[in-house]
Amino acid sequence: MDKELKKQLEITATKVRMGIIEGVYNAKCGHPGGSLSVCDTLTYLYFNRMNVDPKNPTMSDRDRLVLSKGHTAPALYSVLAHRGFFPVEDLKTLRHIDSYLQGHPVIGKVPGVDMSTGSLGQGISAACGMALSGKLDNETYKVYAILGDGEIEEGQVWEAAMFAAHYQLDNLVAVIDNNGLQIDGKISEVMSPYPIDEKFKAFGWHVIVIDGHDFDAIDKAFNEAETVANQPVAIIQKSVKGKGVSYMENQVSWHGAAPNEEQYNIAMSELQAKLDELTK
């Protein structure tokens, strides 16, 4: 990947992280950990990959993204806001009673959201339906489904995995955000979904394993996904829950908790320092 482009994506991802913290802090609740782990890939997709138009969020030939791990809405909202779908300022209203920024993504309420999600395991099925419909119409759009590694404990994910391979949905890319943690602890201790790569391979998917915080690796993976024919693609990204905020990294307690004022200030100053370093 071009160095300047990579730097720009890193800058944008840092701003997106600040939006995540801003949202969750003002909501006094929400899910920062998984939002921060998936943040780089979402930033890459919306800023460098997907054919979307913030002025026409429902255009029929757009690429679609289903945030199957819907609780990480703060990341999706922050990316969409920074991409121009709605004002960045509105992120402060996340989860408020009079806000359109619902706790989990909703079609029709939040510009740019392609599917209502929140109940785990369901988004990937909807993504399969979108991909199937696109193929029937000979559309060239791509469908991206973003799943958590804990989420794939849901049986419906594997029903959908069978469907996608059976109908050769090569316009579908699923990203599995493998940050290794779920609410009750390490995924390997709660209910191990490992080996994730072998499972998707066995279900007939083309599997790519990457570092989810390395834009070169992310770019390479999605380029490779473009070349795959007659198979859906699973990108399993190793990631760090809470990535970018020192005290949140790899801490399961930050799955679904908001920072207090002191913690908010620390998070924002760390991210601001990162931003200063990138833009100096």
């Binding site: 099925s125 339906g129 979108m130 199937l132 419906q156 029903e159």
Partner: protein
């Protein structure tokens, strides 16, 4: 009178619909031969997709297809469409208010020999409670076909209930018109009103005839749209006849009887006696024998009406 199962009508109506709607997609979960979507599959193999034995995924796939603007029907037995996939129907279809039509067959105890595991007497309750869901329960072949064709032009999630058992075709295809949300008065009367839905409508009509021979003029109403329910026809019946008996091949908890009771309790409080499955599971046996055992027959409707009137 000719008899036909409404699941057959469903399969045939999908083929009729295919000519008008090239965007029609039909999904099934390995039951096409039984739900009769197999009739459509044969006619339009490129527009039919089997999801395998995976009803949860099927409902999600249907939701995804609907977001792209196509008309999609998702089919399975009522037990699995409304039961197993309930939460997906709620969160992936109803919450985003997507235009998915659920064609659920083998509803009620008339499933017969398969027994209680497959006899779904809870689906109307489960679907009726979902915000924005329309619930249709047609009574015969003519009504089932007309309902499928009409609902194809209606935007929004819809649950359509069909039966396995062949039942009398009593509506006249030349004159029948399906009007969403409008109950149909099949027999006039002022002594009492019998409100029935689905397969029980033919039994209610028969009961009306028997009662008339015994000097009791029962009004008979067919409610094919459980939600939104026809409040006016129910309120009028309560006012003009003073007593209501409801009949459904479904649990008396949460189904037609409950829906009618909700209307009259808030408007014209009159007694509502609910004939249906009385908070219990069914069991294996021939459909006709089971219907009789569970009181879902013209004879039992006559008995309940006479008891209610003290005659």
């Amino acid at each position: 009178m000719e008899k036909k199962a409404t699941r057959e009508s469903y399969g045939e109506a999908l083929v009729m619909l295919a000519e008008k709607r090239p965007d029609l997609i039909v999904l099934d979960a390995d039951l096409a031969a039984a739900t009769k979507t197999g009739i459509y599959k044969k006619a339009c193999p490129d527009r039919f997709f089997d999801c395998g034995i995976a009803e949860a995924d099927m409902m999600g796939v249907a939701a995804g297809i609907a977001t792209t603007g196509k008309l999609v029907f998702a089919s399975s037995f009522a037990m699995f469409a409304a039961g197993r996939a309930f939460e997906i129907v709620r969160n992936s279809i109803c919450y985003p208010h997507l235009n998915v039509k659920i064609g659920a067959t083998h509803a009620g105890i008339s499933v017969g020999e398969d027994g209680a595991s497959h006899q779904c007497n809870e689906d109307i309750t489960l679907m009726r409670v979902l915000p924005g869901m329309t619930v249709i329960n047609p009574a015969d072949d003519v009504e089932a076909k007309a309902a499928v064709l009409a609902m194809a032009d209606f935007e929004g999630p819809t649950y359509m209930r069909f039966g396995r058992l062949a039942v009398p075709v009593f509506n006249d295809p030349a004159t029948y018109k399906f009007e969403l949300g409008n109950g149909i008065e099949l027999r006039s009367g002022t002594d009492i009103t019998v409100i029935a839905t689905g397969l029980m409508v033919a039994e209610a009509v028969e009961a009306g005839k028997i009662l008339a021979e015994q000097g009791i003029n029962a009004r008979v109403i067919n409610i094919h749209t459980i939600k939104p329910i026809d409040r006016d026809i129910i309120i009028r019946a309560a006012k003009e006849t003073g007593k209501i008996v409801t009949v459904e091949e479904h649990s008396v908890i949460g189904g037609l009887g409950s829906a009618v009771s909700e209307v009259v309790a808030e408007t014209v409080p009159v007694p509502v006696i609910r004939i249906g499955v009385q908070d219990c599971f069914g069991h294996s046996g021939p459909a006709a024998a089971l219907l009789k055992e569970f009181g879902l027959s013209a004879d039992n409707i006559v008995k309940v009406v006479k008891d209610t009137l003290g005659k």
